[in-house]
């Protein structure tokens, strides 16, 4: 083990150590302060006797003369074991609850290795979240990464908790686990998650990594990687189906920018580093199903879009990597609609592989396309009627207008504890379609119209029971 007392520069989260030899890139270091306190760090750049170390934690108290730096000779590893279930850890993987240290079964590099695309299995199992706008319109499947694009003050935490509570693959009892990574969220938010996990009993199947707002921001780079390493272990080694919730990725990207600017790198868009796409992909791509393993990793990262701007680099780069997005809308939220998911800009790229006969129901695709098109049309007409008045619209257009209103009230709107199965979701959809003239239902096959559509005249009554 090599120890040095040769710190030459301290700037922000970075410490430069000179006259080193035999130090590896990405190696973990331990820094001993004059006060006896120990902190960890990682080598970011090494060469010609100089190592640049990124410190996990504050750099306050580090001095150039009396601080010792010890290079541990290995990259960042996490000890893994199934005993981690039911436990809470810090953003660096130390126990946060009052429990004992976990005795690791194996130690794994937290950066992981890329999954061979050839060794992946196509995600195609429908996950029922019980939320109509997700199940019906933007279906989640096992092994998918589907982020929630939210804004400050929107109920993304409630929604992600509700998904974690309700998500299941139908007709199967399988081992499942939730891995939760909190990145820079407030204490209040974190206790909301803890309370909910405890109350619903989800905690015993959960592993929590918590980096709170007042924890060092550099830790935030590590936290999601710990969570995903754990998730991969549980999924691919233990055969569990793991749902990974990460909130909030915006804080992660801010930390990335902070380090990048401390390193004086050439900034990309809005000061975020040019490699942010690659960096984010090493997080998001750690989802999926692989050959030869029962388990799966499904990711639901949450990010709050600064200024509700979908083209902000964080949201933009995320959208290019993930398989769709669930977008929360401030307008719907203002109308008191929960969950305020706007289906139009939302998307699930893997939806088609997870729905249809044998998975959900034969009419699912058609219903979803039809609802989508009709709602989009209704929303357009809404802005038109704001200009010309509702009277100026044709009778058919007025039906679309009513459809859009009802869609929000009956389909989108649901309770925090309301768990709708897919049949209920689809039958609400058919009820809504009965508002429209039948010849406007171009997206659904005629045989399904005959089978599922309630005849007009009864519209607006209570929803029909699910068909068998």
């Amino acid at each position: 083990m090599k120890e040095y007392k040769t710190i030459t520069e301290i700037a922000g989260p970075l410490v430069t150590v000179s006259d080193v030899s035999g130090v590896g890139y990405n190696e973990i270091v331990e820094i001993m302060l004059p006060s006896g306190e120990r902190r960890k760090g990682q080598v970011l750049d090494v060469g010609r006797g100089i190592a640049v170390v990124q410190v996990f934690g504050p750099t306050s108290g580090i001095s150039t003369s009396q601080t010792t730096v010890k290079f541990l000779g290995e990259t960042m590893r996490l000890g893994l074991s199934t005993e981690m279930l039911g436990r809470a850890f810090t953003g660096l993987g130390e126990p946060r609850d009052k429990g004992p240290r976990v005795i690791p079964k194996e130690k794994v590099d937290i950066n992981g290795l890329p999954i061979n695309p050839y060794s992946r299995e196509m995600p195609n199992e429908f996950i029922q979240t019980g939320i109509s706008n997700i199940d019906g319109m933007n279906t989640l499947v096992r092994g998918q990464k589907l982020p929630i694009f939210s804004g400050a003050g929107l109920p993304h935490n409630q929604l992600s908790v509700q998904i974690a509570r309700q998500a299941k693959v139908r007709g199967k009892e399988e081992k499942f686990a939730v891995v939760f990574a909190a990145i820079g969220i407030t204490h209040e938010e974190s206790s909301f998650f803890m309370r909910d996990f405890e109350k619903t009993g989800a905690l015993e199947n959960a592993v929590l990594f918590l980096n709170l707002a007042d924890d060092p921001s550099v830790e935030r780079i590590i936290t999601p990687r710990l969570a995903l390493t754990t998730a991969e272990y549980l999924a691919y080694e233990q055969g569990m189906h793991v749902l990974v919730l990460i909130t909030d990725m915006t804080n992660y990207c801010e930390a990335l920018r902070e380090i990048s600017s401390a390193r004086q790198e050439v900034p990309g868009r809005r000061g975020y580093p040019g490699y942010m796409y690659t960096d984010l992909s090493t997080i998001y791509e750690r989802a999926g199903r692989v050959k030869g393993s029962q388990g799966s990793v499904t990711q639901i990262p949450v990010l709050t879009m600064p200024g509700d701007d979908k083209t902000h680099p964080i949201a933009d780069l995320t959208g290019y990597i993930t398989e769709g997005q669930i977008l929360l809308s401030r307008d719907l939220h203002r109308k008191n609609i929960y969950p305020p998911i706007d289906p139009l800009p939302s998307l699930s790229r893997l939806m088609n592989s997870g729905i249809g006969p044998g998975k959900t129901r034969e009419d699912h695709k058609g219903v979803s396309d039809q609802l989508y098109a009709a709602y989009a049309n209704g929303r357009d007409l809404r802005s038109l009627s704001a200009v010309v008045g509702e009277e100026a619209l044709t009778p058919s257009d007025r039906k679309f207008l009513r459809f859009a209103d009802d869609f929000e009230k009956k389909f989108t709107q649901q309770g925090y504890y309301e768990n709708r199965d897919i049949e209920t979701t689809l039958s609400i959809g058919w009820d809504l379609m009965s508002i429209l003239p039948e010849d406007e239902l171009k997206r659904v096959k005629r045989e399904y119209i005959a089978k599922y559509l309630k005849k007009p005249g009864k519209e607006g009554e209570k929803p029909a029971e699910a068909k068998k």
Binding site: N26, K310, T311, E323, A373, L384
Partner: protein, 581 residues
């Protein structure tokens, strides 16, 4: 070539500086004790800067660096087709075996072509024949669909050649030139950063028939041409690229998944072997080469993947084939350049991209073309490049889109608002353009119909008219328009919904042959003619809108037997006859 050995001086992410005197730029090196693959991208004095194709964690200064003395090359020979490679042409299947797991381990050496497999080689030249570089010396039936033509890499006289079963490294014969003897093998190597030579490039005159109505009818791409597909996320770039890969009438497809999603590549990998070529009934995979470098695989290999792909495409072009190359997405490639440029501390150009971005993009697209292949016999081949671009926020004023637009001839503008309406392919017909209309007109006239060009122009001007009318409708509502203009809206809605929209997941509609495209378009335009005449004779629009033939037109997409169009046309004539009375 002597192997140069040196040592690591500095490591920063994927960039490693090494003391390596006498190194040559762009030579491939093995870095560190783990033997990670890398390429020299800059030399300062005795220091070589190496971009490493694998994760550099744990690498230490002082570890060895060995130069192979060779530039980054691809292996070209039988066995490439049906191959699934990473960015530096390592077969993913072999990587899986060698990594003993689902993750890609580091430092794996995997030859691109199977060294053990024997191929039945049929010589087509005899001893004593004179050959020029590029001349075909024999053939291998690589897959049921494609005959692999083995080309001589040298000029000279054939000393010996034999037919039989050989591996790619076996000597099948030899060529001598000016007293020197060169062995002939089924395999050859080519530096990926150098384009393969041709005799002459020709302007493209034949369309790449894609089976996608909006493209073939309104924005045709030429064989040997270039096209770009920019669009924000979720607008269907990948679905469009995949449809083109599946349904275009090209002989070879090279598909580069450059910095894209793992699950998406898996979808391609799982789906292509099951897709059947309609003409031959064989799996489409037999004409396809896939290069998959997902976003979390090392960034330097992503930079290389585009060159690997285009070199393979050129190789098949040289055999005399029409090749389509899909690169999804070139923005990721540009970002890889930016990332590496940043690590090299280069002075950045626009938005942090390196100043040579424009040149690199232009060089890449310039490798497309319809050519007379380098050979004594007259042989023609083509490489068509279709690149997806992922502009941040969907705003194409950014450098990658702009520099791509300057060199490509077809611009297919994907539009998120169309995608939100589930209008697929979400190609915006007002923003897109093609510069091949004139050069392809003759082909469409001869092979489809002489009035095809006229119809498309008429349809397009109606769609433009619609955009103007929509602005009025936004203000005053549709009922305030005169009937004739309402009729325009009715017909353009038909054009949009019943013609431009195409269902990539429907068995019948996913690929629409040009003849059918013509019949469909003709039916709609004929309908417009009828409407226009009927309105002139005082028929009310409401009556026309009740005609049952409208539903028939709405279901034209699903027609399999082209004779059914006669019935639709007849019904249309009779319907209008009736309303006029």
């Amino acid at each position: 070539m002597a192997k140069e050995q040196g040592r690591i001086e500095r490591i920063s992410g994927p960039v490693v500086e090494a003391f390596l005197p006498d190194a040559r730029l762009y030579d491939v090196v093995r870095v560190g004790d783990a033997g990670l693959l890398g390429e020299i991208i800059k030399i300062v004095g005795t220091t070589s800067v190496v971009q490493v194709y694998e994760d550099t964690s744990g690498l230490k200064p002082g570890e060895k660096v060995v130069s192979t003395g060779q530039p980054l090359s691809v292996e070209l020979g039988p066995g490439i087709l049906t191959g699934i490679y990473d960015g530096i042409q390592r077969p993913l299947k072999v990587i899986e075996e060698k990594s003993k797991g689902v993750f890609i381990a580091r430092g794996i050496e995997a030859p691109a072509l199977d060294r053990k497999k024997k191929w039945a080689f049929k010589a087509t030249v005899k001893k004593g024949d004179k050959v020029k570089a590029g001349d075909i010396v024999g053939t291998v039936k690589e897959t049921e669909l494609i005959e692999h033509r083995i080309m001589s890499p040298y000029d000279g006289k054939v000393d010996a050649i034999k037919s039989g079963d050989f591996t790619v490294e076996d000597e099948v014969g030899s060529v001598s030139h000016e007293g020197k003897k060169y062995p002939l093998m089924l395999m050859q190597r080519w530096n990926v950063r150098k384009s393969r030579p041709v005799i002459e490039k020709f302007p493209p005159t034949v369309p790449l028939v894609t089976g996608q109505r909006i493209i073939d009818t309104f924005f045709p791409i030429a064989k040997g041409g270039t096209a770009c597909i920019p669009g924000p996320f979720g607008s269907g770039k990948t679905v469009t690229q995949q449809s083109l890969a599946k349904y275009s009438d090209t002989q070879i497809v090279v598909y580069i998944g450059c910095g894209e999603r793992g699950n998406e590549m898996t979808d391609v990998l799982k789906e292509f072997p099951h897709l059947i070529d309609p003409k031959s009934g064989r799996p489409l995979m037999e004409r396809t080469v896939l290069i998959a470098n997902t976003s979390n695989m090392p960034v330097a290999a992503r930079e290389a993947s585009v060159y690997t792909g285009v070199t393979i495409a050129e190789y098949f072009r040289d055999m005399g084939y029409d090749v389509a190359l899909m690169a999804d997405s070139t923005s990721r490639w540009a970002e890889a350049m930016r990332e590496i440029g940043g690590r090299l501390e280069e002075m950045p150009g626009e938005e942090g991209y390196p100043a040579y971005l424009a040149r690199r993009l232009a060089e890449f697209y310039e490798r497309a073309g319809r050519v007379r292949c380098l050979a004594t016999d007259e042989r023609y081949g083509s490489v068509t490049i279709i690149g997806a671009v992922s502009p941040p926020g969907g705003d194409i004023s950014e450098p990658v889109s702009q520099n791509t637009l300057r060199v490509t001839k077809v611009f297919l503008a994907l539009d998120a608002s169309l995608a939100y309406r589930r209008h697929f392919p979400a190609i915006n017909w007002l923003k897109s353009y093609t510069l091949y209309t004139d050069s392809l007109e003759e082909w469409f006239g001869e092979n489809v119909s002489t009035d095809f060009g006229k119809l498309t122009k008429a349809a397009m001007s109606m769609l433009q008219k619609e955009a103007e009318l929509q602005e009025v409708v936004q203000l005053v509502g549709p009922d305030a328009l005169p009937e004739k203009e309402q009729a325009v809206l009715m017909v353009t809605r038909m054009l949009r919904e019943d013609y431009l929209q195409q269902n990539a997941y429907s068995d019948v509609d996913a690929r629409c042959e040009v003849k059918k495209q013509y019949l469909m378009l003709r039916a709609i335009m004929k309908f417009w003619e009828h409407v226009s005449n009927a309105l002139d004779t005082g028929v009310q629009l409401k009556k026309i809108s009740e005609l049952p033939v409208r539903t028939k037109i709405g279901r034209m997409k699903e027609i399999k037997d082209l004779k059914e169009f006669d019935a639709i046309n007849k019904e249309m004539d009779m319907g209008f006859e009736a309303v006029r009375k």
